[in-house]
Symmetry: C2
Subunit: 701 residues, 2 copies
């Protein structure tokens, strides 16, 4: 843990629970709860008795949901935020939208296609560069060792081999620990969580990209058993994010005409394409890449995105093919000598008969059991890792070095122990070329049996495809009986509040009103600046309901929802009024454009700490109507929690307002956010519910 993350102001998604007492006459309804800004990050304060069972999160959080949530991102514990895929329909949006012309829409479409083209090109280039570097470094290492072995100097050979691995591994660990801890690990769980709506500082930052590329080159060269698709998916997602943001502002690589993409919806599309491109680059499998993105990564999908993702992966395939053609002429050093990393299995035979079918079904069953076992062990190993990771960067590097030495010994010793041991699980490809040059690294790709084979085989002849599918399906079905998919498992363990498309069965016992918690802070349609500043400073909430009250209206009436980022821009503009009963809507519309409220890259944008106000300003009023989203989604408090969860997930919401059932109460009961649907939180509120009674394959889903 870097510690730095603990000092960032935690942000909470929404304000909670209606506080009936109208504290003063100023129209402001909110009342700060003294405890809400304390006790922020409680890391691993496990309550005992429940620790260690599979699938349990590595982090333990406050059950009261009054503060920010945290999660493990890469190897780093940092605060997480939700993304907001909802269209904020406020006056500004409507004004902006009305003013858009055909030309701008055309510009937007062309730009979007250009961006995915660039994503494809860059991801293809990076993928190729990765392979080139790995083959050159690993090839040099193997040549050195092989030459020594041919001279029968086995011990020297081992030291040379182990030494190379050690240096490479230490370098990989060092850049990862000191530059971007978020880049540690596969990256797929984080991308998956991002596409589900969970944002974390630095997960798609330029430094993460840098470390991911060079770290994975060094790591694979060091002989580590690394999945290839993980780093590439993360790389593709980073590239997509940076292009969508118009480069990095920190490194002065920005571009202003990408303002159209400064919202979570467009970014999500680009990052989905990026992750597809990553897989495509890892395995030269364009269709496989799209299917991977579809199956594992993306939470939302539509036909237009399918085309865009296909286009991206097609570009990747063309780029890779051209570069490989170029390298065939021997201009790329040792590239292509190993033939292990860039699969090119066009020479394999593709016939099968009925006995093969039976063999393949057995293979599927074995694969499934192994896969399940693998995931079970992974869970245990990750627990040990996370304990070590807590102790800081030097320990991480030490751990890496230890593993490197063990790996070196294993891979060096293995060929002596058994003649043809690699490929125990992925024998579908019949262990193509088990030479003597190559079995050292033969197990490299074994890691993710559950996903990789389909990608592998898609690059092969399609006649085998139905069989491969059958194997995968059988494996998957069997493995599913043991535990969840490996990425789902890691997502849960990292504490990322992932929302499934279906509701968990225990949610049907609860209603929306049961889980709203914490003090609810509402603003009046025209609110005192001091109240807003206070609320923004002393809570981490991101959404505040706006309620018009007498004398503005006859009865208290829900206007909509205003977000923290919009409030900050509005306060920064200092369009304040002396009188509460005047509105300044049209002035605000003249003064601001919708792009002033566009969402900046993650970790950027205005913060409340950056703003200063005089005492006079604090006593003035500001009209919130122009920036209030007047069409927030609502559920009645008696709505089943399961259905509220489905609504929340299907529409990609950040805030879901809970309204009262009976008319004689204030117009809003509370706000539901992503964290309120997390099993842990609900279990904390209702310990007697048995969440595991029926599992995710329930019939109600």
């Amino acid at each position: 843990m870097e510690g730095q993350s603990q000092h960032r102001a935690p942000e909470r998604e929404g304000s909670h629970n209606y506080d009936i007492e109208s504290t003063d006459g100023s129209g402001g309804l909110w009342r700060r709860n003294g405890s809400s800004s304390g006790a922020l990050l409680r890391y691993n304060d496990s309550g005992g008795g429940r620790s260690g069972s599979a699938g349990e999160p590595l982090l333990r959080k406050r059950t009261m949901n009054t503060t920010s949530q945290i999660a493990i991102v890469g190897a780093n514990v940092c605060p997480i935020e939700s993304l907001d895929y909802e269209v904020v329909e406020n006056d500004l949006f409507k004004q902006d939208w009305r003013s858009r012309k055909k030309k701008q829409i055309f510009q937007y479409i062309v730009l979007k296609w250009t961006l995915v083209l660039l994503i494809g090109l860059l991801t293809g280039l990076v993928g190729f560069f990765n392979n080139l570097a790995v083959e050159n470094i690993a090839g040099f290492k193997l040549l050195l060792t092989g030459n020594l072995m041919l001279k029968e100097r086995y011990l020297t050979a081992f030291f040379a081999y182990g030494g190379c691995n050690l240096v490479l591994a230490a370098a990989a660990a060092a850049i990862c620990a000191y530059i971007a801890p978020a880049a540690a690990g596969s990256g797929i769980p984080e991308v998956k969580a991002y596409l589900n709506g969970v944002d974390a500082y630095s997960i798609l930052a330029p430094s993460t990209l840098f470390v991911k590329i060079f770290g994975s080159i060094l790591g694979v060269s060091a002989g580590f058993v690394l999945g290839k698709e993980g780093p590439m998916v993360h790389t593709g997602a980073c590239i997509a994010n940076l292009l969508g943001q118009g480069g990095s502002r920190k490194y002065r690589l920005t571009c202003n005409w990408l303002r159209y993409f400064k919202n979570d919806r467009d970014r999500r599309d680009l990052i989905t394409c990026g992750s597809a491109a990553g897989v495509a680059a890892a395995f030269r499998a364009p269709v496989g890449g799209v299917l991977f993105a579809l199956e594992e990564a993306a939470s939302w999908w539509r036909s237009a995105l399918l085309w865009r993702a296909f286009f991206t992966t097609a570009v990747v395939a063309v780029v890779l093919r051209s570069l490989i053609e170029f390298c065939r002429s021997g201009k790329c050093g040792l590239f292509g000598q190993g033939g292990l990393i860039m699969f090119d299995l066009s020479s394999t035979v593709a016939t099968y008969s009925t006995p093969d079918l039976i063999a393949i079904i057995i293979l599927g069953i074995i694969g499934g059991i192994f896969g399940g076992l693998f995931n079970f062990l992974l869970d245990k190993v990750l627990r040990v890792y996370s304990i070590i990771n807590e102790r800081g960067a030097p320990f991480k590097i030490l751990l890496t070095i230890t593993i490197s030495i063990i790996t070196s010994m294993c891979s060096y010793g293995l060929p002596w122990l058994a003649a043809c041991t690699p490929c125990p699980v992925d024998a579908v490809e019949q262990c193509p070329t088990i030479g003597r040059s190559a079995s050292f690294l033969g197990g490299t790709m074994r890691m993710t049996v559950s996903v990789c084979v389909i990608l592998l085989e898609l690059t092969n002849d399609l006649a085998m495809l139905p069989l491969v599918m059958l194997v995968l399906l059988i494996s998957k079905t069997i493995a599913d009986n043991f535990n969840k998919g490996v990425y789902d498992q890691i997502v849960v363990m990292k504490g990322l509040p992932y929302m499934e498309a279906h509701a968990e069965p225990y949610m049907r016992h609860l209603v929306a009103g049961d889980v709203v918690s914490g003090p609810l802070i509402t603003f009046s349609g025209v609110e005192k600046v001091g109240n807003i500043v206070h609320a923004l400073r002393f809570t981490g909430h991101n959404g505040f309901p706006v309620v018009d009250e007498p004398p503005l209206t006859e009865a208290p009436e829900l206007v909509g929802l205003v977000t923290r980022s919009h409030l900050l821009v509005l306060l920064n503009g200092k369009m304040f009024m002396k009188d509460q009963l005047k509105t300044s809507g049209s002035f605000v519309l003249q003064r601001f454009g919708a792009f002033d409220f566009a969402k900046p890259g993650s970790g950027k944008g205005l913060k409340i700490q950056d703003l200063d106000f005089t005492d006079e300003e604090m006593e003035m009023y500001v009209d919130l109507h122009p920036v209030t989203n007047t069409s927030p989604y609502t559920v009645v408090e008696t709505m089943s929690l399961a259905k509220a969860a489905i609504l929340f997930r299907a529409l990609g919401l950040r805030h879901l307002l809970v309204v009262p059932k009976t008319p004689d109460r204030p117009p809003i009961v509370g706000i539901l956010t992503r964290h309120d649907f997390v099993e842990e939180h609900i279990h904390g509120l209702f310990p007697n519910l048995n969440p595991h009674k029926f599992h995710s394959t329930s019939m109600g889903g």
Copy 2:
């Protein structure tokens, strides 16, 4: 038009608009609007001035949405209903759900996999049988003609050829017109609409399946230019539907342990798999099948479904491969002699270089322009067809015969006019084997350039794939500038109320309260039987809000929504009470199981006409609470219509309740159904809105 369809009781999705006057003291709030049961089907009563422009529906409907809606299904005009993907969370559901054990869940999962296995097997068999029959019939025809031509008896040859075609075409037209008019046409628009939530009587019925299979065999044998994927997709969907229903009750092929699948959600999944299997069977392209289902057919998608669809198409591929192997030994008559229909292009060369890229881009542009032109012409042709179709079955057959003669003349004459004219658009495949054999039928596959090539090429070597993708993307982009996709276009023209995943931009100008219409009929929590029977008899509404009123509660309070089908089952059970203030909830729960309320196959189930009540019964009361869905989705009346549409579509709703914004009004304002989001309806209410100002590619979506 068969006419029969016009006599069916039209059903309207929901009851509309609140009727403030509480008519009598009996607690019932509803009041029948005299005009709502009259003036049902107004077919082609075009208002002039707007007719004929591309993309305009062939049907014109009442703008007031007070009655049922109709659409063209196949060649038949029939009433349409919405499907309901929402989980009806009433007391019965909760009771049933609590009582389900692990064993039953396991049973359900096994059954679901077994069903998709069967779908794959049957679709594969039907696909093979289709090809076998076509190749034998067409082969016989061509042999006959060829022999005559070799004897230089050209005129006799033409008459033999034309005669064969004529008989085959007339037979196809006759079975289609007299047995199942719903089977006419491609079928893909109907399947697409079904998967979007539009149900039509007979669209997936056994008779439709029968006609589809034999009609397409006869049609293709007659030399018609038919798309192959259309009939197969429809066939696959029919098979899936029949299996899911547990066979056809009409033909006594039912099976009771399929009760788990008697709901729209599970059926939707099966039919999605069926349509994927259809494409897979048409082109022997398992991946292509899944992608087709994903891109063109399905409106909802999730990871579990992806696996199931893949499994289905894998089964299809295995079945087809086994059968083709079997036929290689020559046991299948003329099968495999043509080699045109079952693509097996493993012998084509798969290298390309940079100049090819440019050629391919040009090809893409040409393809796009042709595709757009094709769709434009299709629109015109379909208009003429529909006018002829109105005149009844004999005219249809006459039309078919005319086309058959023209087609015969063209295909017979073509080889004399030009040496190698076929394949102008799909030249990607380089016109593999343009023998003298075979060019007669060479254009068969040309029809759906937009989709078919990717499927075609997926069966081929994958090295070409990136290029094919590029061509398709360029074609698609260009064609999109002219008009929508061909299936989307037909869906609109047929009047099927298809809901897009994004909202149309003009909807942002409106709020939910703007479009609710018609008299709203609500029931009290304990309602008089007579009131319910009256409402069910004299309206076609399918959903009725239930409002508890004083003295049952302090103020009027929304309980939830009750559906027509549930009311019918409840009335049929005759659990009536003399006293309004007593509840009979627990009795109802004992008496009924959730499966009593399961949805039967389309066109089946109880009807209000089947039920009889004595005068005494009509004066009694019935407790609606146990069957009321207490968690209906709601929107506030001021919610933007665009956002309401997105909610409606994303969750697959049938009814969306509109609640008032201010507390001093009755607890429900109206109900939104699918028809209320149709552009035509909204345009009828607000003629000044310009729906075409921004099109579907708007930035707001």
